[in-house]
Symmetry: C2
Subunit: 231 residues, 2 copies
DNA sequence: ACAAAAGTGTTGCACGTACACCCATGT
DNA sequence: ACATGGGTGTACGTGCAACACTTTTGT
């Protein structure tokens, strides 16, 4: 394509903060890099944006190459553009976060070669990451917390059927504080978008809890007006 | 700089949504473009990011070139990356908004040549803009609304000394709805970060209102803890 | 029977909302 | 005196926070 624009020794990339929830802990999917710079370091999965794909498409592609998953909830949250953030040249990166149901994806095998392997890391004990990825991660979790208060994103991280205790543990993990059990349940149920199932937990050695699922239809019916104000 | 990275026929730019408040209306500073593409169209001020400046610096520079102002409150809010958003080539743009006190800047003369002139437009009757700038604007005002609810950004748009009615009109303009006078005043004063001055409005043909100013110190003292959670 | 987690209500307080009239000032 | 916006208080309802015990189930 003839651009008529000056050429730059520069590129854009996407970095993804992929959140999952497992064993009561909030986790992030990291890769061990197989390429310089930062070969052998842990880092957020990311890659350059191709010239003929939108950044949304690039984010989707990169997530797919890493996790073999499509149609995830992804959301752009910030763009990082310090001149020296990439040691080999000018790379501006658009950061996205994604929420996935970790169950059934405990072992994530990358399709591409740029990652040696991947691994779920608890968010509270992340290693030192390549590039400015620790900073990107910190920003992501702040945005995630804020978004949790006005969007039903928690359900993207849970199995389709879940107990109220699981939901509460997830909220506690994201917000990093304890919540009151009775108040939490009252509030969640009062929203009216949880559907109580005729089913119970199985395989636990104590009283089995009722299962619920998130009812998207009801949610949109209830919050229709508010949603128009959201981005 | 030798990058070791592939070269792209592509570039990044910054676009700025510059908000001001005047005569009870929320306004945006637009330029009339002096260059192709979209020569003679109205558009948001924006320009390419140089290779040796961070995107923050670029945003500051572009605002300066346009308004001759520095040290404004600027905040990145979204990055737009559709492949065809710029007719001459691939340009990903990082959008910022800025808040300025319109008073004393009613006539803004651009320093650069890429704008023929600038003009403040009421946000409710924007013309059709070049590129995807109408979409960028819509996103900006949604973010602005949300931010208004948890950050003291309104004061950036008002003169240093203002009346409670002016403050209320500004909130109404941003939120696009009427607020109750008594409740608004009660709430604002209860926050404790407004300093009541020993001064009154002048030059009005009715009862002069008390002037207030925003006390940043008190604000940070009060909201210290919350602020640590914000981005 | 015991261990483990499920499940359940009430009360006080803070906050938001609805609402209408008199006051001070300049012309 | 009149027009214009400035300034003020109360009552009600909603939502949030604090708080502890009984129930169910599997081993």
């Amino acid at each position: 394509m003839e651009t008529g624009l000056p050429k730059f020794d520069s590129a854009f990339s996407i970095d993804c903060v992929i959140f999952g929830f497992d064993a009561g802990e909030l986790k992030v999917l990291l890769i061990e890099r197989n390429e310089d710079p930062f070969k052998d370091w842990w880092a957020l999965p990311g890659n350059l944006v191709e010239n003929d794909e939108s950044i949304e498409d690039a984010a989707t592609r990169i997530l797919y190459e890493l996790t073999n998953l499509r149609d995830m909830h992804m959301e752009q949250f910030h763009t990082f553009g310090e001149v020296k953030r990439h040691p080999l040249g000018r790379v501006i990166t658009v950061a996205y976060y994604a929420l996935i149901r970790i169950l059934g994806h405990k072992e994530v095998k990358p399709i591409t070669q740029y990652a040696k392997k991947t691994s779920w890391h608890p968010v509270n004990t992340l290693p030192k990451l390549g590039f400015d990825h620790n900073e990107i991660f910190e920003t992501s979790i702040q945005k995630l917390r804020r978004r949790l208060s006005y969007q039903p994103i928690a359900f993207e991280l849970l199995p389709e059927k879940f107990t109220l205790t699981q939901l509460q543990l997830l909220y506690e993990a994201i917000l990093n504080k304890k919540l009151d059990k009775r108040n939490f349940r009252k509030k969640m149920i009062s929203y009216g978008f949880l559907k109580e199932l005729d089913e119970k937990q199985k395989g636990v050695s104590y009283r089995a809890a009722k299962l619920y699922k998130f009812d998207k239809r009801k949610y949109f019916k209830i919050f229709q007006n508010d949603m128009n104000l959201e981005s």
